[in-house]
Amino acid sequence: MGFGLWRRARYPRCMPSVPAIFNAPFAHEQAEKLLKRSRARRAKLTDQAISELLSDTVYQERRRYESDRPEPGEAERVERAATAIAHDDRPAMERSLDELITAYTEEIHNRFSPRAYAAATRVLPQALTRLVTATDPARLLSGDFDPDRRIVVQGHIDMVRGLCERGTVILAPTHLSNLDSPLIGYCLFRAGLPPFAYGAGLNLFTNPVMAFWMSRLGAYTIDRRKNGLIYKETLKDYSVELFRGGFHSLFFPGGTRSRSGMVEKSLKKGLLGTGLQAWQENLHDARPNPDVFVVPMTLSTSLVLEAETLISDALAAEGKSRYIINDDEFSDAGTVFSFLRRVLNLDSAIYATFSQPMDVLGNPVNAQGESLGPDGAVIDRRRYVCDASGQVEWDEQRDRVYTERLARALVRAFHRDNVALPTHLAAMAAWRALKRRHPRLDTWRLVRLGRDERLVPKSSLMEEITSLREQVGRLAVAGHIRAALPEDADDLLQGAISRFDSYHTRRTIELLEHEVRIDPELALYYRNRLVGYGLDGDAVAAEVSA
């Protein structure tokens, strides 16, 4: 394989410059900033309140140690805090708080490396091409692999690029798979956008090689097992400091992968609100580029690597899904590579859509970064947080309500820019056909049907596909969803089946002579991507209809 062939490929089309702001401060500098914030907050707290804050962390950490072995030094720190609380010794409690915050910051901190980023972005497109064509070396020689047909990056890309120059951008994507982070990294590169810092679950750092690269490509660590208030505050402060430093950042506002496969309807407001905090602090300090923008991003994929594990988890009998899953398909490198190779061989298998950018209050913004009112006129967004003299009026309660509004705006954007794909529609049709055959059974019983009970007439499935295709078409015309579906119902079904069969070992939809056998769990999972639009008797989400 000659190097010339690789050079003929159209990658990299653009190599975004890495802004100077990505010369990340060292951990101890970052820790100093976070300590300063914490000390300012706690100066207003009584001894009792400090004790309660610390007690919460001691309790939560001790509880965590019951299932997770503490890192060296971790348990000792927590026990020193417990001793300080027991002695009601404020200076010692303050020292313990400082010690915990410093340790948490060290763990969270992003060690972004422009050199590593440059190297990775040079290698990634070629690696993708190699991965895909590995199944069919002849295709490599013919040079017909075009990643742009496999990964469609669309939406308000130019506007986002412009906003990155005008302020700090928070990218808020939907989340289905652990592969989303590298996928988004690739999309940012393809869109000519600068690198983004992003919060990644600590479980993704368990492999030292992955950890080295992720950290240097912009990932900071979020340990979802840590539930103490001090950890959460440190994480939020870290996020505020990132925005204040002008670091464009990415985090998944749903908090974790969607277990059911549905587009997120409920978002985590804690980190989401840090953009508003940073913007107000920037205004207060009269910084030159104070603005923070939020860009919703919807990822729509024909197949999901962890689909089988995630839906099983969502349906877990005890009804309590695991927040962190360490033993899914992502933990097996062979499965990951096999999945990627198969998915990237499918045409238009992945859509990444940059939605209309908005301000931190959920108002749309124009290309100049100005906020727009409902009538499209430019509005002065500072007046939402400043008094008549232009001074910031601090109000945490108000900011929580603003952040809820932002969350609703994100959810609307996620649904509007979700792309209905053949696997989603065929799965919903299959689920509806199954329900037609077993009208008295609820979801829990349907997913437990025996092999013969999963058969439905093929005609019934085709009717459902035709009907749903029309409904989705109408929704798409009205701008409630995007769709990439063939017109013909047979083509749609065949396309869906070939996609399902290319990866899942279980047959999601198995065509027999006159009947179709359906895997209810997988049908439910992929069907769920179209929930919230009123297609399957489900209520239209209030956030979507507003």
């Binding site: 007046r383 309660q397 507003a546």
Partner: protein
Amino acid sequence: MKVSVLGAGPLTAPLTQLLTLAGSEVRAAAPEAPAEELAAALGHAELVFLTIPGPQLAASLPGLGLRPEHRIVVCGRGPDEATGLWLSELVSLRTPCLRVGALAGPLSPAEVERGSPAAAIIASPFQDVRVRAQAALHSPRCRVYTSDDLRGVELSASAARALTAAIGMSDAMGMGAGVRGLLLSRGLAEVRRLGKAVGANPDTFVGLAGVGEVVAASAAADDSAYLAGRALLRGDADPHEEALAVTAALVKLGERNKVDLPLLEAVHEVATGRLTAKEALKGLMERAAKLGGE
């Protein structure tokens, strides 16, 4: 506090009076006033009370010149029939104002004019709006309570208008206090069901915005909802009257949320001429007997 009152509804005069009594600096304007007059009324205000009746609010909003810094308190009753949106939602979706609340409660224009004590409730998810509106209106003449259950207060105040119309109709038919009690208690059950379905606190209806307003309005012979109910029996009710428009919107809301609302539906059927008042009452009384209170 500097306050604007925009609107020409029945609450405009009593509200202006009570705000002034509470020490607020009030400027009032009608929505159709010249732009300069509206701008002058709004220019100084940190808090704006919109006393425009619900059915006219959507059409009035674009011309008001509201800005992001304004905190808005909606005094009309919704939902808006055309869109199904609550009036506070209408304001936050159609204007740049985000800090929005609603006022409800037994504020009878005649009683305020006579100098009787009054009471009201201000609801908003924004503490800032609740605190400012309470400070602007609270006085020895008017007790003002607050709630963060905006949806519940808007629903309760609207349902109170519909139930007052039902009581007006039943009074016009010569029904006794027993039917009043029946209407109030069954109405309460319906609103609680609807409240649960739309994410409101079902208990809010028991407070000032709901029961407080029904009791006061149905005892006041000049209340517009009560009069609209009486007009239903005569067959000359104006379907655009706020209480009847609100009833139609609540019935639609019930349908969307699959909530059974036999009493409100009966009032709506009469208002739209599909049933006579007698047929509606007969229909309600002949419903199958139920076990339990809900």
